[in-house]
């Protein structure tokens, strides 16, 4: 299965600022996703990161707030823009490799906005 390196692992940010989270995979993958896990909640899909084109966002998530880049098949970034305390969550990157064990998740980025 793929190995995902997600950075940073945690951060404390001031409201109104932005944070960019990086996701690096050790092999080329077609499907890459970003999730949010709010405190005490389940994982909610933010968007599918598409290589070379705009990400596909789920209902309730918009590009202005969560811009995503995916320049190649092994790397993606998620930016949390103009942060507020409500953005305090764990953000996770995930990849799917067909024919493998399904979905692999990064260890997550624990974001606290103060």
């Amino acid at each position: 299965s793929a190995v995902i390196s997600q950075k940073p692992s945690r951060d404390i940010c001031q409201r109104g600022t932005s944070l960019t989270i990086q996701c690096q995979v050790d092999s080329q993958v077609t499907m890459m996703f970003w999730y949010r896990q709010q405190p005490g909640q389940s994982l909610t899909l933010i968007a599918t990161a598409n290589q070379g084109s705009e990400a596909t966002y789920e209902s309730g998530f918009v590009i202005d707030k969560f811009p995503i880049s995916r320049p190649n098949l092994t790397f993606s970034t998620l930016t949390v823009s103009n942060m507020s305390p409500e953005d305090s969550s764990i953000y996770l990157c995930s990849v799917e490799i067909q024919g493998a064990d399904g979905y692999t998740f990064g260890s997550g980025t624990r974001l606290t906005v103060v």
């Binding site: 996703f33 389940s42 399904g102 979905y103 998740f105 997550g108």
Partner: protein, 114 residues
């Protein structure tokens, strides 16, 4: 679009007792189904998955799950619970159409009485 329902928010069982966690899904075709476990402050760990074939699947840590198409269910079971099984359990469904999105249920928190 697919969806997952985990009707039990919390379940408490005594150590050594049997366990069943419920999961119902909604998807137009045959889904890919997963159970994940998340211990406090830890990442997601895949317990088991169902893609096709035998509807009773075995996973790690002594867990099993049964896919019942007629009931749109994929319940997780364990014959004898250990204290270390206390965690949050997530059922998830993927639609292997063009999106490959993995959607999570709301989770069930398992508490184990000594």
């Amino acid at each position: 679009a697919q969806s997952v329902t985990q009707p039990d928010i919390h379940i408490t069982v005594s150590e050594g007792a049997s366990l069943e966690l419920r999961c119902n899904y909604s998807y137009g075709a045959t889904p890919y189904l997963f159970w994940y476990v998340q211990s406090p402050g830890q990442g997601l760990q895949l317990l088991l998955k169902y893609f096709s074939g035998d509807t009773l699947v075995q996973g790690i840590k002594g867990f099993e799950a049964e896919f019942k198409r007629s009931q749109s269910s994929f319940n997780l079971r364990k014959p004898s619970v250990h204290w270390s099984d206390a965690a949050e359990y997530f059922c998830a469904v993927a639609g292997m159409d063009s999106s490959y999105k993995l959607i999570f249920g709301s989770g069930t928190r398992l508490l184990v009485r000594p």
